[in-house]
Amino acid sequence: MDQAIVMKTEASTAANAPASTTGIRLTSLILTVAGLFYLYQAIELPMGDPPGTGVGAVPVLVAVCWVLFGALVTVRNRGVSADLGPWPRGSAALRVGVAFFLCVMFIVGLPFFGIFLTTGIFLLLMGRLAGAPWTSAVVLSAATPVAFWIVFSLGLKVSLPFGSLLTVIFRG
């Protein structure tokens, strides 16, 4: 019986840069500010009688702890962990940005173009972005929506959106 051993391929991470302490502090600061906003909203809620039984009690408790620990992480200097991954730069960052844009376009397009067209175009572009040859990307984008239709619509009896534009065009 044939079995397998594996050869490791080289990873291409040259275009990336390491994360910094500033990044940790900045993120913690943003999270702390978010915690302060949450606290500001929470203290408007009733604390209940006896105290602690109202809808605002736990949010206030959570918010106070959130702000305190967030501030602690922000002000102290622990240095950067050695196993932190690198930040994407250049073409790597562009790929992530385009992937995010495609995700947003999927959400925007789904109500208008429906599941078939939106998923097909999304898979075609995402496949190309991830490095698929045109032929593979086209096959992937054509086959997957059909597979989804079989699994979700026929198998699980879930109604998938047909799309308002396509409804107007095909169903009047």
Partner: protein, 502 residues
């Protein structure tokens, strides 16, 4: 006799064709997840969770459990052959398992791991059947203060043990708990933090949040790093069958690892990783003849940890099935799946929904046998899975995630949450924040809040109720130990070192 009757009832549920198919599908997906480095078990569970809600509760739970323990099986394959842990629980296996494979015994190592995982899984399922019943009986004496403290203990332990920085973990846990408060309050029915919008009144569902944090963020990371999955080349491996000497060294380690894993799985915290290191430490400590081999391919160095890793996957279900409190993000997702199905986990789960609990337990026997059958003859196929083009996986997982989340509630808001948390998760991971506490916070937040408010209502706002009731007092003490224990341990170690130096 009750146990036997319940198990027979469970098998009647588990042997239904749809449930057998769910166990097999879960085990297949789980093994694939374990084999493929990158996409973790939590991500895989989150991806399939929207699909599981279209089935009955027991079928969905069987599928998720299959993914969970299947990943533990599959993780050892890449750890041994590639020195890449498919799962965090396989990190220890990369040490001696890989070295053992380099000696030309890769096939034997895989066989030992597969059989060890099967034995550990089986032992652990028997333990799970017994412990769940016992603990559920004990838990019937628990009231709001105990549940409040149990939820707190689970959160605090995870915060203390995972990642590098407890303070960062605490922030993540609290953000998760805060997210859980958005929407309709389960106790009073009032809305909170909705800014008069109907979308925020829906709250943050666990599935899009978990899938965004673990699934999408991983895909963004893969796109950013552009790392290909390792490439497999097939060769003949004739040495699948371990020698008698290798077996005689492996099986005691497997039994010990099973016991260690089962016990650690019952405790709060990341049991998978902890148990493998504990098992490795025990094996190294008690080794007499072969201690020098540790780090260079000792059989005990991977047989024990792999067994422990699989035992944990099963025993970690005990707290969630008997108490309704998840101690790890993986079982938190399973608890979330139950809640989505309208089933409230807790001590009454066994009496109110016996078919769910016993059906799940019985299905794990079936799944365990299926995994042995999948892993031994099909090792070659699993490793070839690494040859599937990365772009296919990336595009497919993106699309499955979107469609799965959308079909849950036909909600575009959930899709926005998915993408939003995908971006947030990517950034936080890159910065070095551990995301597991946030998931746990989102699940235990409502449990903690409900229990705390009920407790304070019962006691008239008197907080001493947490120390005047015997079980509460013990749990309060454990919470204190969870917070200050590791710090004190570090001080003592440092003090001993200084005194030795001086």
């Amino acid at each position: 006799m009750d146990l036997l009757g319940n198990m027979l009832g469970g098998f009647a549920v588990a042997l239904q064709p749809v449930n057998i198919a769910a166990a097999l599908l879960g085990a297949l997906v789980g093994t694939a997840t374990g084999v493929l480095p990158g996409l973790g078990v939590l991500g895989a569970m989150a991806i399939l969770m929207p699909i599981t809600i279209h089935f009955s509760a027991v079928t969905g739970l069987i599928m998720l459990a299959g993914i969970y323990y299947g990943a533990m099986y599959g993780g050892s394959t890449t750890a041994i052959l590639l020195r890449i842990p498919g799962e965090s629980g396989s990190i220890v296996t990369t040490i001696d398992g890989y070295e053992f494979a380099r000696k030309g015994r890769a096939g034997a190592a895989l066989m030992i791991c597969a059989v060890g995982s099967f034995i550990a899984g089986t032992i652990s399922i028997v333990g799970l059947s017994l412990f769940t019943t016992l603990l559920a009986d004990v838990a019937l004496r628990f009231s709001s203060p105990e549940f409040c403290l149990l939820a707190l203990l689970g959160g605090l332990t995870l915060v203390r043990i995972t990642g590098n920085d407890p303070a960062q973990n605490m922030v993540m846990l609290l953000i998760g708990m805060a997210l859980a408060t958005i929407g309709v309050d389960a106790v009073s029915g009032d809305t909170r933090f909705t800014f008069n919008t109907s979308t925020l009144a829906l709250g943050f569902d666990l599935v899009p949040v978990a899938l965004g944090l673990y699934g999408l963020s991983e895909l963004f990371h893969v796109l950013a790093s552009n790392e290909g999955f390792p490439r497999a080349t097939t060769v003949r491996l004739r040495e699948m069958i371990p020698t008698r000497r290798e077996w005689s060294r492996a099986w005691p380690a497997i039994v010990r690892g099973s016991g260690i894993g089962f016990l650690i799985g019952l405790l709060p915290g990341p049991g998978s990783l902890t148990s493998t290191f504990a098992s490795y430490g025990v094996e190294k400590a008690i080794a007499r003849k072969h201690r020098d081999e540790f780090g260079k391919g000792a059989i005990e160095g991977f047989a024990g940890p792999e067994a422990a890793n699989n035992a944990v996957a099963t025993s970690a279900l005990v707290p969630v099935l008997s108490l309704g409190i998840p101690f790890t993000p993986n079982v938190a997702l399973m608890l979330g799946a139950l809640i989505v199905q309208g089933i409230q986990p807790g001590p009454l789960l066994l009496s109110q929904h016996p078919n769910v609990v016993w059906g799940l337990l019985a299905s794990m026997y079936i799944g365990n046998v299926a995994l042995l059958a999948l892993n031994l003859p099909l090792v070659g196929m699993w490793v070839r899975l690494l040859r599937v083009p990365q772009y296919t996986l990336i595009a497919f997982i993106f699309a499955v995630s979107f469609i799965g989340v959308y079909t849950m509630r036909n909600s575009y808001w959930d899709l926005c949450v998915l993408v939003g948390f995908g971006v947030v998760g990517s950034v936080l991971r890159q910065i070095g924040f551990d995301l597991a506490p946030m998931i746990l916070g989102l699940v235990i937040g409502p449990i903690f809040e409900k229990a705390l408010r009920e407790t304070l209502f019962l006691s008239g706002g008197d907080l001493t109720i947490f120390v005047t009731r015997p079980i509460s007092a013990v749990l309060s003490a454990l919470c204190v130990v969870a917070v200050v224990g590791p710090t004190i341990a570090v001080w003592i170690t440092r003090g001993n070192r200084l005194s030795q130096q001086s």
